[in-house]
Amino acid sequence: MLSVKNLKVEIAGIEVLRNVSFTLEAGKATVLIGRNGAGKTTTLRAIMGLLPSKGGSVQIDGSELMTQPAYARAGLGIGYAPEDRRLISDFSVEENILVPALALKMPMAERRRKLDEIFTLLPQLTTLRSRPGGGVSGGQGKIVALGRALMVAEKVLLLDEPFQGLAPALALEYARTLATLHDKKRDIAILVTESSPNLLKAIAEQTLHIERGALHDVVV
């Protein structure tokens, strides 16, 4: 579904991604594991077109993403939740989730259907709907960012370190939510980055290890 081939990224002349290649399949969850600074966030940002890449290709169902502007990703069915949540603080939680729908001019009926689906998948959000984005806790914010990504994630869902900074109980809850999501939405490919593999063991069908900007088959 989504294939990354020889992706290269340089920041200030230093190679931070070296020939990264992998494939995400529909209905499968992939975990990208690596230490801080190994290149996990950079990989996701490069796929999203938020960083200029030095070479390589990213294709979704055979069509090249690297030649398209960053904003085209959402319309192609790629949902992304950045590591630091990045909610709009003076928009309500529901408005935050609806931002991609607004950007893509989604018809009202579809908007409502997706919103219902998201609230069913993430029941924690129901009581937060009208709370401002700046007024939810870090853990709640992660769920909101997940909901916002689901608004467009018809094909691929990219989650950047969703467990980072979560209290153990919340992390467990998030992992359970992710497992449910994985069960119910069998048509989307999920990529989650993480620094430790423990929480995602249950759902990961593919595990990738990244170190100093390159993928390794075996844990070093």
Binding site: P69, Y71, R73, Y80, I88, D90, F91, E95, A103, V152
Partner: protein, 299 residues
């Protein structure tokens, strides 16, 4: 006492309305593009020149003089449509990500070009096109005489302020604009074509500057150098209000205009520096302006 103060107050508000439009455009474009457009004042004076020329043409062609009112609006729209997309898509777009010094140099160069362009097109002698003000006349309320045109200016500024709030709050484009202001990168990731929003915001900024210039023409002569004066004043107002703050710009415009009018009345020698004294005092106490918030540091 009251009978002298009230006309001063109305005068100040009418001036504030004009400055507000220019500072509003500056602050709007800045909050979306993060580029401080030094040439913004030139677009104000171009708006003034186009409106004055158009107004004078309407009169000399023997058309209905009331047509000079829609001519003010049309002139601003014309300047915005001509210069907004052109400048943003070429010069300003080139400066994105190149640092503030480059942005200021490039827009300053643009300012110099536009100033000379105006001399080339409109000449150096002053234009006077006060038909709209003459048509509206005066009203006398409680023994105090008001220029109706000034009251109209104040009303239009108020409508623009509240209209913008409604636009940002209740339209799709307005909402997307707010998202881009809050977080550019997330906007892209969520499917917003930020380039289009940039062009739109910049053009809207040009429109507001040109509208300020057009609406000022009936109250003054249009002459070279107008752009530079207005630019510095609009920048002071935007800084006092807090860069990116629309309500802040409105309040700051009123404060600056009031201080200026009071200075002219009581200490005329301080007329020119009064706005900057206010700016200095405000920024000493609140470095991000009256409504500005210091950037949140994320850990």
């Amino acid at each position: 006492m009251v009978s002298t103060l009230i006309p001063l107050f109305v005068d100040a508000l009418a001036n504030a309305a004009i400055i507000f439009f220019v500072a509003f455009g500056l602050t709007l474009a800045f909050s979306v593009l993060r580029v401080l457009n030094v040439a913004h004042g030139s677009l104000y004076s171009i708006g003034a020149y186009v409106a004055a020329s158009f107004g004078l043409w309407i009169i000399s062609a023997g058309l209905n003089p009331w047509l000079t009112f829609p001519a003010l609006l049309l002139s601003a729209a014309f300047v915005a449509a001509l210069f907004g997309p052109l400048i943003e898509m070429t010069l300003v777009r080139w400066t994105y990500g190149r640092g503030e010094a480059v942005q200021i140099l490039v827009t300053f160069a643009l300012f110099l070009i536009l100033e000379d362009l105006q001399r080339l097109v409109f000449g150096v002698s002053s234009l006077y096109a006060d038909t709209p003000m003459a048509l509206l006349g005066i009203s006398e309320i409680g023994g105090i005489i008001y220029l109706n045109y000034q009251l109209l200016l104040i009303a239009i500024a108020a409508v623009a302020l509240f209209g913008t709030r409604l636009f940002i709050r209740h339209t799709r484009t307005g909402r997307l604009l707010a998202v881009v202001v809050a977080d550019r990168e997330v906007s892209e990731a969520m499917g917003i074509n930020t380039r289009r929003i940039f062009t739109l915001a910049f053009t809207l900024g040009v429109f507001l500057a040109a509208l300020g210039g057009a609406m000022a023409t009936p109250t003054m002569g249009v002459a070279p150098g107008l752009g530079a004066d207005t630019m510095v004043l609009a920048f002071a107002v935007a800084a006092i209000g807090g860069l990116g703050q629309i309500e802040g710009a409105a309040l700051a415009a009123i404060i600056v205009a009031l201080v200026r009018v009071l200075a002219i009345y009581y200490v005329p020698e301080l007329d020119a520096v009064a706005p900057y004294i206010v700016m200095l005092l405000v920024l000493l106490v609140r470095p991000y302006g009256l409504f500005g918030k210091p950037p949140v540091r994320r850990i």
